[in-house]
Each structure stands twice: as structure tokens, then as C-alpha cells.
Amino acid sequence: MDTITAYLDSLFASFPDNPKTRQAKTDMLANMRDYYRDLLHEGKSEESAIGAVMRAFGSVDELREDLGLSPQSDQAHAHPTSDVENAISATELSHFWHNTDQFATQIALGVLLCCISVALPAYTDESRFQVFGIIGMFLLDAIAVGLFIWAGTMFSPQKKALNGRPLTENAKQLAQQETDTYRRQFSTGLVIGIMICIVAVLPPILSSYLSHFITDDAGGALFLIIAGLGTYLILYVSINYSQIKRYAYATAVPGAEPQPHHANHGNWQASQHKHNQRARKEIALFRQVYWLLVLVTYFLVSFLFDTWDYSWLIFVIGGACQNIIISLIARRNESL
């Protein structure tokens, strides 16, 4: 029953709140509930009854015209309408993912370039090439900043265009399939990325023991480059995965045949929201405690063993571990 209320609420959201629209909503809600009740009496399942009620609604444009609202003025902040034309199609979605892939590549590349840019002066430090290292650093930084701005300005309108719109049934199915497919890639990418970041610690450690084999400068530079590669991988898969996953849970417009999951949609979203909120609280608490612990460990270990040279790496590793733990918290709440 509440699914109908939620459905009407979303359709009426773009209308001004006045006695006329309120009356229209009350009347329609009563009609739709009657219809729903009758369909159940006829022996229909809850799911197909909800689907039939939604299909019998009609078009928001007709209603808007009827309530004396011009169709254009509300278009800008118009809510997901019952019109199937407004829904995101599967083609549109694949196109968006293609752009997301480009965006992810550009952002990850930018971060990698930043890492390399710092590695250059670190490696050429106090050598006769020092000046080239510094010039190289600024050059790479400039390219990286350019990439960030370019990627952001190209991608954000693409993303905005899909905001707040429902999906067609096909698109939703595609999103769910893609999410399942990409999940493995995402996990693999994340694990390898984190492993690379951890391995990156080796060169600076080796350099302090085998300084004839690898210099301090080279160790530091290698660390930055290897960690940069790991970060590249992590960023790339995370951005892609997040943009695929968000559509697997988006609302779909009832198509020709209602899908079984529609009936529970309202409740499902509400419980999902509750879980999200809980997860967010837990994550915030975790962050506060976690970084305090990392900081204390850093000073303790550094003082005790006089390892100031490379004990700062704890923050890099700590950053990676934080992501793992946060995703674990989020996943646990999801599965509850």
C-alpha cells in the first residue's frame, strides 16, 4: 500500500503544494488504493497489482496541464515522471559507463603523474640534474592539474544528465548484470593495487640497508612511482565500480511486465537508507579512533626504534588499510 503513496509522492513532488494539487492527490490516492484492493480480490499477486495500478496512472504532463501548470516551467526540477521516455535507457547507460571509464582513466593518470612528479626531484636531489628534476616536477604537475580539470568538466554534465531519473527495466537489468560482472574485476584490482602499494615500501627499506645497491634517493623515488601505480589501479576500479553499482539499486519504471521486486521497493529503499546511515555513523567513529591510533603508533615506534627515516610510511599503509576496513563495514551493513 505504501508503495502507492510513495509513487504518488514522487510524481507530485514537482508540483506546488496548494489546495488544488492536494485535493487531486487525495482523490487519486483513494482511486488507486481502491483499484489495488480490487485487483487483490480478483486474486492478483501484490506485485502485479502494484504494477497494474502504476500503469493505470497515466501521464504527469496531462496532470500538470490540468492543474494549470505550464509544462515548461517545471521541467528544470521535474521529478522522475511516470513517462517511460524520461527513463534512462540501456544504451544511454552503456554510453555513460564508457565515459566513466575515460573519466576514471584520466583521474587515475593524473594522480600517477603527481606521484612521478614528486619522484623526479627526489631522485635528482643534490645531483647536477637537480634543476631538470624540478622543471620536470612542475611540468608533470601542470599536466596532472589539466587532466583533473578536463576530466571533471567533461564528466560532471554527463553525470548530471542522469541524476534523479528512473531506469527502464532493461537498463536496470543491465546495471545488475554489469555490477555482478565488474565486482570481481573491482576486487581483483583493489587487492592488487593495495599489494603494489605495500611492495612500494621495499625500495626505501632496502636502500637503508644496502645503500651501495640502491641509493636513498632512488629508493624514495621508486617508492613514489610504485605506490603511484598501485593508486592508479585502486582509483580506476573504484570509480568505475561506484558508477556501475549506483544504477543497480536505482528505481526502475514499471515496463510492460512488472518485476517481482517492485512491491517491496519502498520498504527496501527505506531499510537500505537506514543501513546506509548506520554504516556512515560507524565509519565516522572508526575514522576518529583509527587515525589517532595510527598517529600514536607512529610516534611510539619512531621514538623507540629511531626509525624516523621511513616510519612515516605508516600513514601511506594506514590510508590503504582504512579503505579496506571502511569497505568491510559498508559491506557488512549491506548484507544485514
Binding site: A30, N31, M32, D34, Y35, D38, G58, E62, L63
Partner: protein, 106 residues
């Protein structure tokens, strides 16, 4: 199943014809249309609402708060003398339209 588009121009007449047999409210009218056409025509919620609005504005029907059904107060509609006159005009028009279209499509 007939589309709303094909019925354009006659939705108002359908509603008036039902109201001529007694006062009624939104859902009951929609259901009556469905029943009489043996599910061949299902008037959409918004189309029905638009028809009520138009008919009220033209003075063909009066809206009044009716008794409570299924725990909700219903807006009932009553046909006015002007509405009856309009329905008669529409019925006459339909006979002509039917005759003319039949000449081509039959």
C-alpha cells in the same frame, strides 16, 4: 485494448453517460468504464481527472464531498441539466461521426 488517444474527445461523454444513471465517484466511474467495455478500454487516472476538471469548469457536473468509502472521503460527482444537454449533443454528434467514418472504413 483501446488507447486513450483513440478515445480522445469522447472521454467526457463516457463520464457524463455514467453519471446520468446516478452520482458516482472517481474510481467507481473508471471501474464502470472498464466493466462495460469488458476491459477493452481502461481510462487512465490522469485522463479521468482531466475529464472531471473540464466538466466541472464547463458546469456540466457538480462535485460534492460524499460519504466515506474504505476509510476515505470521496469526491462525488452529479450531472447538471447543462451536462445532460451536452451529453445529448455529443450523442447526436457521435451518430454522425460513426456514420461518416463507417463510409470509409467499412
Amino acid at each position: 485494448m483501446i488507447s486513450s488517444d483513440a478515445m480522445r474527445g469522447y472521454n467526457d461523454a463516457l463520464v457524463l453517460a455514467i453519471l446520468q444513471q446516478g452520482d458516482s465517484y472517481g474510481y467507481k466511474i473508471g471501474k464502470e468504464i472498464r466493466k462495460r467495455t469488458h476491459d477493452q478500454y481502461m481510462i487512465r487516472e490522469t485522463t479521468l481527472y482531466a475529464a472531471f476538471n473540464r466538466l466541472s469548469k464547463n458546469g456540466y457536473i457538480d462535485a460534492y464531498p460524499g460519504d466515506v468509502t474504505n476509510g476515505k472521503p470521496r469526491t462525488y460527482y452529479r450531472i447538471t441539466p447543462r451536462g445532460r444537454a451536452f451529453l445529448a449533443v455529443k450523442a447526436e454528434e457521435w451518430h454522425q461521426v460513426k456514420h461518416v467514418v463507417d463510409l470509409f472504413l467499412n
